[in-house]
C-alpha cells in the first residue's frame, strides 16, 4: 500500500481519445458498451435459466428431491457475502467519483476479499458434492445415495426438509411416477426419483459458469485495485471503476436468482 504515496499518475491519465469530441461522449460511449455487454451476459445465462425452467416444469420431482442435497446455509452465507461485496463496490464507485483514493483502494480490497470468500465457500460446497458423488450425468453415484440419506436422516440440521419431502411425495403421487424408486434402508422411505443427475448437471453448469464470472470479476477488481494504488483514478477519470462495478453487480444479480432457484425449492 506504500506505493500510493508515490507521485500520483492521475494528472496524465484522463486523456480524450482522438476520435471523440468531448469527454462526455467518450464516457457515454464506454458506458453504453458495458451495458450492451451485460445484456449479452444476461442472454447467455438466459439460455441456462431456460433449460432450468424446461426441466423443472417437466420433472418437478427431481428438483424437489435434489435440492435437499444442497446446503441452504452455505448458499445463504454466500448470498450475504456477494450482496455485501456489491455494497462495497457501489461505495467504491462513489469514492472514485469524489476522488477519495485511499477509501477507493480499501473498498476495492474488501470487494476482492469477498470474492475470495465466495469462491472459498463454493469450493467447500463442491468438495462436499464431489465426496458424495452428487455429480452430473453418469458420474452421479446412485449407489451411495441411500446410505447418505440414512446417515443424514438422524441429523436434524442437514436432513431433507420434511415439508418439502411431503410435497415431493404428493407431486410424485400426482404424477403416478412408476419409475420412482422407494429405497428404504430400514429408515425413512426416502423418495429417490429417476434422473436426479439432471439437477446436478444444471446445478454445476449454472454455478460453474457463475463461478467463472466471479473469477473474471475478481481479476477486473484486482486490476482496478492496482491502478487505484498507483493513483490512476480521480474525479475526472473513474470510468474503469464505474464499468467494473457494473460488471460486479451483474455477477451478484445472477447469484441472487441462482440461490432461490437452486437452494430454496418448494
Amino acid at each position: 500500500m506504500a506505493s500510493a504515496a508515490a507521485t500520483p499518475r492521475y494528472e496524465g491519465k484522463h486523456h480524450l481519445a482522438h476520435h471523440f469530441d468531448t469527454r462526455r461522449q467518450q464516457f457515454d460511449s464506454h458506458k453504453l458498451a458495458m451495458w450492451l455487454f451485460l445484456v449479452t451476459e444476461v442472454l447467455m445465462f438466459g439460455g441456462l435459466f431456460c433449460a432450468y425452467a424446461i426441466y423443472r416444469a417437466s420433472h418437478p420431482e427431481i428438483f424437489l428431491f435434489a435440492h435437499t442435497l444442497l446446503d441452504k446455509n452455505l448458499g445463504a452465507v454466500n448470498t450475504i457475502v456477494l450482496l455485501f461485496s456489491s455494497f462495497t463496490m457501489a461505495w467504491a464507485v462513489r469514492a472514485a467519483m469524489l476522488g477519495e483514493r485511499r477509501r477507493l483502494s480499501a473498498l476495492l480490497a474488501i470487494t476482492l476479499l469477498c470474492g475470495f470468500g465466495f469462491l472459498g465457500i463454493k469450493a467447500f460446497e463442491y468438495n462436499h458434492k464431489w465426496q458424495h458423488g452428487f455429480l452430473w450425468g453418469q458420474q452421479f453415484a446412485y449407489a451411495e445415495l441411500p446410505d447418505y440419506l440414512a446417515g443424514h436422516g438422524a441429523d436434524a440440521a442437514t436432513a431433507p426438509d420434511s415439508a418439502a419431502d411431503a410435497h415431493a411425495a404428493a407431486v410424485m403421487a400426482e404424477l403416478d411416477h412408476a419409475a420412482a424408486v422407494t429405497v428404504a434402508h430400514g429408515h425413512d422411505p426416502a423418495l429417490i426419483p429417476r434422473n436426479v443427475h439432471i439437477f446436478f448437471g444444471i446445478y454445476f453448469v449454472m454455478t460453474g459458469l457463475h463461478g467463472i464470472h466471479v473469477l473474471a470479476g475478481m481479476i477486473v477488481i484486482g486490476w482496478l485495485l492496482r491502478r487505484s494504488l498507483r493513483g490512476d483514478f480521480g474525479t475526472r477519470n473513474y470510468t474503469a471503476v464505474d464499468l467494473g462495478g457494473l460488471y460486479w453487480h451483474l455477477v451478484d444479480l445472477i447469484w441472487i436468482f441462482l440461490f432461490p432457484l437452486l437452494y430454496l425449492i418448494h
Partner: protein, 562 residues
C-alpha cells in the same frame, strides 16, 4: 471555407494538410503497424483478407462435395470423407465467412466514414474482435487438420455427442468466433448512437447504417445463446451432463431449440447488412433518391425483431407441438412482408433512374433477382404441408443458397466492387468486372436451380449416393458450380489486377452522396482532411462529373459540420 466544390477538389488531390499521397495504407509500415493497428480501415482490410481466405477454403470444400456428387456412389472420396467435406463447407462458410463477412469487413471500413467520424467508438474492442476472430479461425483450421467433423454444421445431438472427430474443437471455435461477432455488434451500436455528427438525426442516416444497426442488435442478443448452447454441447460431450442425452433423461430437441434460437436470427445477421449494401448501391448507381427511405429503415428493424420469433420453422418435423408449428409458420410468413417492402422500394428507386451498368450495379441487380427467388421459395417451406414433403431435401439447400449465396455473397461482392476504389484508391476494369458478374450469375443459377428441381422430386440433402434418375440434375449442378468458381476467379483477378495496374481512383468515382465519398481515395489515417459537408445521403442533384479528376464533385452544399 469558400465553396464546397473547391474544398472537395483540394481533398481529392490529397493536397490539404498532409504530405502528397499519404493515406491510411502507407502512413505506417511493418507487420506490427497492421496487426496491432486501432484504425478501423486497416482492421476492415485485415478482416476482408481473412474472410476472403475463409471463403476460398469453404469454396474448396463446396467443389469437393459437388465433384463427389457428379455420379452416384464413389467418385473421388469415401462416404466418411464426404460427410466431413459438407460439414466443413457449411461450418466455414457460416461461421468464418458469411456471418462476419459484410459487417466486419465492409462495415468496419465504411461505418465511421458514413458517419463522417474518425473511427468507431471503441477501437481497441474492434482490434480485439479481429484477434479473437483469428484465434477462432486457427482453431477451426486446426480441427480440420486433426480430422474434421462429420455432424453437419448444425451439430445436432445425440449424433454430435457420440460421433468421433473434432466436435469439441470446432464448437469451441464457434464459441470464440461468437465473441468476435458480439464485440463487432456492441461497437456498431455504440458508434451509431454516440458518434453521429450534429445534424445527422436517425432519419438522415444512410440506410447502410440502419442495416448495420439492426444487424448489431441481433449479434448482441442472439450470439450469447449460441455461446451457451455450444458450451452445453461441449459439457455434454466431455463430462456427459445428460441435458441433451435421452439415455440420461435429457432432451435432444432442446438442443435444436437452443441452436436455432441463435442460428435463425444469424441468417438475418447475414442478410440485413447485405440489404443495406443494396440500398446504397441501387440508389447511387441509378442516380436517383432512394424510394421509401423510412419504409426501408423500419423494415430492417422489423426483420431484426421477427428474426427472434421464427426459429421453430426449422423444426416442423422434430415433434414439436402442432400449435407451435402453426404459430411459427404464421410468423415466418410475416417475415416476408418487410423483406418484400425492401425489394419493392429498390425496384421503385430504379424506376426512371439513370441506371448505369457499372460492376457493383450488375451485382446488385443479380442480388434482387436471386434474393427474390430465395425469398419466395421460403414461403413454400413456411407452409406446413409442403414443408413435410420438402424438409431436408435439396429444395431446402437450393432455397438457402439462393438467399445466402445469391443474396449475401452477391451483395458482399457488390459492396466490395462499390467501395474498392475507396479502400485501395484504384479503379478496376468495368468490362471484366461485368463479365465476372455475369459468369457468377449464370453459374449460380445452373448450380442451384437444378437443386430446386431434384429437391421437389424427392432428392434428400446430405446423401452420399442417389438413384440414377437424379444424375442429370447433379451433373448440371456440378458443372454450374465449376462455372461459378470460374466467375469468382475472374472477379478476384479483376480486383488483383486493379491493385497492380489500375488507374488511380478519384474521391468519388460513382457519384455517391454519402459522406465516405468526401474522403480521399484511399482516405488518410484520420479519414477526412477538411470539414465534412453534411448532405442528404440520397440527394444527387449537386453532384456533377469533373473531367479533370475523372470523378464527381459537389457544386452546392447545405450545411457544414466539424
Amino acid at each position: 471555407m469558400n465553396t464546397g466544390a473547391a474544398t472537395i477538389a483540394d481533398r481529392s488531390n490529397g493536397a490539404a494538410g498532409r504530405p502528397h499521397g499519404e493515406n491510411y495504407l502507407n502512413c505506417a509500415s511493418g507487420w506490427r503497424s497492421w496487426l496491432f493497428t486501432l484504425d478501423h480501415k486497416r482492421i476492415g482490410v485485415m478482416y476482408l483478407a481473412a474472410i476472403l481466405f475463409s471463403f476460398f477454403l469453404g469454396g474448396i470444400f463446396a467443389l469437393l462435395v459437388r465433384t463427389e456428387l457428379i455420379s452416384p456412389g464413389h467418385t473421388i472420396m469415401d462416404a466418411d470423407s464426404y460427410n466431413r467435406a459438407f460439414t466443413l463447407h457449411g461450418a466455414i462458410m457460416t461461421f468464418l465467412f458469411i456471418i462476419p463477412g459484410i459487417p466486419a469487413a465492409l462495415g468496419n471500413f465504411v461505418l465511421p466514414l458514413l458517419l463522417g467520424a474518425k473511427d468507431v467508438a471503441l477501437p481497441r474492442l474492434n482490434l480485439a474482435s479481429f484477434h479473437i476472430y483469428a484465434i477462432g479461425a486457427v482453431m477451426a483450421v486446426a480441427a480440420i487438420l486433426l480430422g474434421g467433423v462429420d455432424t453437419g454444421w448444425t451439430f445436432y445431438t445425440p449424433y454430435s455427442t457420440t460421433t468421433s472427430g473434432q466436435v469439441v474443437m470446432v464448437t469451441l471455435a464457434v464459441f470464440v468466433l461468437g465473441f468476435s461477432s458480439i464485440f463487432t455488434g456492441i461497437n456498431f451500436i455504440v458508434t451509431i448512437h454516440k458518434m453521429r455528427p450534429a445534424g445527422m438525426g436517425w432519419f438522415r442516416m444512410p440506410l447502410m447504417l440502419w442495416a448495420l444497426y439492426a444487424t448489431a442488435i441481433i449479434q448482441v442478443l442472439a450470439t450469447p445463446v449460441l455461446a451457451i448452447t455450444v458450451l452445453l454441447l461441449v459439457a455434454e460431450r466431455v463430462l456427459g451432463i445428460g441435458v441433451f442425452d435421452p439415455a440420461l433423461g435429457g432432451d435432444p430437441v432442446l438442443f435444436q431449440h437452443f441452436f436455432w434460437f441463435y442460428s435463425h436470427p444469424a441468417v438475418y445477421i447475414m442478410i440485413l447488412p447485405a440489404m443495406g449494401v443494396i440500398s446504397e448501391l441501387i440508389s447511387t448507381h441509378s442516380r436517383k433518391t432512394i424510394f421509401g427511405y423510412r419504409a426501408i429503415a423500419y423494415s430492417s428493424i422489423a426483420i431484426a425483431v421477427f428474426s427472434f420469433l421464427v426459429w421453430g420453422h426449422h423444426m416442423f418435423v422434430s415433434g414439436q407441438s402442432p400449435l407451435a408449428t402453426v404459430i411459427f409458420s404464421a410468423l415466418t410468413f410475416s417475415v416476408s412482408i418487410p423483406s418484400a417492402v425492401k425489394v419493392f422500394n429498390w425496384l421503385a428507386t430504379m424506376y426512371k433512374g439513370a441506371i448505369k451498368l457499372e460492376t457493383p450495379m450488375v451485382y446488385a441487380l443479380s442480388f434482387i433477382f436471386l434474393f427474390g427467388i430465395g425469398g419466395l421459395t421460403g414461403l413454400f417451406l413456411a407452409t406446413l404441408a409442403t414443408d413435410v414433403h420438402l424438409h431436408d431435401s435439396y429444395f431446402v439447400v437450393a432455397h438457402f443458397h439462393y438467399t445466402m449465396m445469391g443474396g449475401v455473397v452477391i451483395a458482399f461482392l457488390a459492396g466490395i466492387f462499390h467501395w474498392w476504389p475507396k479502400m485501395f484508391g484504384r479503379l478496376f476494369s468495368q468490362k471484366w468486372g461485368n463479365i465476372g458478374a455475369v459468369l457468377v450469375f449464370a453459374g449460380f443459377n445452373l448450380t442451384f436451380f437444378s437443386q430446386f428441381v431434384m429437391g421437389s422430386k424427392g432428392m434428400p440433402r446430405r446423401y452420399y449416393s442417389y438413384p440414377p434418375e437424379f444424375e442429370i440434375y447433379h451433373q448440371l449442378s456440378t458443372y454450374g458450380s465449376y462455372l461459378l468458381a470460374v466467375g469468382l476467379f475472374v472477379a478476384a483477378g479483376v480486383l488483383l489486377h486493379s491493385l497492380l495496374a489500375g488507374r488511380r481512383a478519384p474521391a468519388n468515382p460513382w457519384g455517391g452522396a454519402t459522406l465516405e465519398w468526401q474522403a480521399a481515395s484511399p482516405p488518410s489515417h484520420h479519414n477526412f482532411d477538411g470539414p465534412v459537408i453534411l448532405t442528404d445521403p440520397y440527394d444527387y442533384s449537386g453532384l456533377v462529373w469533373d473531367a479533370e479528376t475523372q470523378g464527381f464533385v459537389r457544386t452546392a452544399h447545405e450545411e457544414v459540420v466539424r
